[in-house]
Symmetry: C2
Subunit: 259 residues, 2 copies
């Protein structure tokens, strides 16, 4: 059967999701744990190939396995063997044609910026510390120009491999809480390589006054990575959620995207 897992992880100790030669990845740990547990070679396919240091509350992956164990019990069993920084929060049987990356759906990311005079040690692994003053109202306005269907070439790493740079952003909000934590909340039908981190880096430049909020429209139109702000560091980024449509339309989340 094909099993879908929802996986949460602290990305601090991992070289991202995808298996690579030089460093431990989340995918590798899942493959090894599942293979040992089921006594067969198992390889998971992930929805979001998050970068080194990026966290996830709800990444999705799927794998095929020959077992009589009920799919919804796999999460409980697996957590006994996974390290503390990876947790399977749900497991279920899915159709044989379910593919976490090609399936149509909606992804939600958050990027956190601690905007205070001094760093906070207990937030350091899950937010960017930024001590210069940021104007949240300017950031909100800039973020509003990103909503809708756009060509996001300017907000994509030059290393992106993709057929199209067009993505739809459903919402992009910026909020600051009482603890000086600014959260950029963004939902879309898919994200290009480094897209959320480049959006965060650009909104920071808007917040500190180096870029005008209205300039975001020009940056989008330029289709030129060099016009946007820097790529914000990975620790502030968290994949919050992936929701799949119940219909079976595919290929709307581009197969080559990663963030």
């Amino acid at each position: 059967m094909r099993v879908k897992l929802v996986v949460a992880y602290d990305g601090t100790a991992y070289c991202g999701w995808q298996i690579q030669p030089n460093g431990i990845t989340v995918q590798q740990v899942l493959n090894e744990t599942l293979s040992q547990f089921f006594h067969q070679e198992i390889a998971v396919v992930g929805a979001s190939r998050t970068d080194s240091g990026v966290h996830a509350l709800c990444n999705v992956c799927a794998f095929d396995v020959d077992t009589r164990m009920p799919a919804d019990k796999i999460s409980y069993a697996l957590n006994q063997f996974l390290p503390d920084d990876i947790s399977v929060v749900a497991s279920e049987e899915v159709d044989k044609d379910f593919h976490p990356r090609f399936q149509k759906g909606k992804k939600t990311y958050e990027y956190k910026i601690l905007n205070s005079r001094f760093p906070n040690p207990v937030e350091r692994l899950y937010s960017l510390f930024y001590h210069r003053s940021l104007d949240v109202e300017r950031m909100k306005k800039a973020a509003s120009y990103l909503v809708g269907e756009h060509d996001f070439t300017s907000f994509s790493s030059i290393h992106a491999q993709t057929n199209t740079f067009v993505r739809r952003v459903y919402c992009c909000d910026v909020e600051k809480d009482e603890g000086d934590m600014i959260t950029i909340h963004i939902e879309g039908n898919g994200f290009l390589y480094n897209m959320v981190r480049i959006i965060a880096g650009t909104l920071i430049e808007v917040g500190n006054g180096r870029i005008e909020p209205e300039a975001v429209k020009d940056i989008l139109e330029a289709k030129d990575r060099s016009k946007a702000g820097p790529t914000a560091p990975p620790e502030g980024l968290m994949l919050m959620d992936i929701q799949y449509d119940t219909s079976n339309n595919k290929n709307v989340i581009d197969s080559k995207e990663t963030t």
Copy 2:
């Protein structure tokens, strides 16, 4: 001059606050960093000698130093030399008779319990994961009996060294947020050794049904550690705040207390 520091730290990697032979402590790192920075032997005195693995947003310490550097600039300079998991969030000159532990004041702690079916890796360092169902209303009721001036012998480690077990708890609230995180918020004029962690362990036993909320009154009256619940693990505990009275009355925070 005497300098007061407000210090935040992630206690995960430390054997608590107080210098000890077998392991690195927060006090040791501060002493070494300050001594190197000022080229003189410096020893800080802390307000709360937090246990191994306990965190702090605002612990307070003080030290004497011979320097012409303005006291309020010391925090900025020091953070350049401290590790990422310790941060000085404020520094100021204080009277020569200021003592962080003997000065009258109010301390605030929070204990966090993630009460969900599956652990959350990004919360694991700063909360206790507890998967059995907890009834927050029962916990709230039990907590209300702790408010006021009581003999907290039953909620103190047998290793406590103190002249009196009487403490005043100003408030003790229990709240659960949308993310299944239960927060025990407690304010008092001082806390005995392990007191907040034993309160947390007892409230968990009330939440899961093993102890009745009303039994907390009997536990207080018994003055017997064995009547209360277990000592909850350190990772869920955070020292949130220490507020000193502006008046100079002393000895209200007991000199031997630690949590």
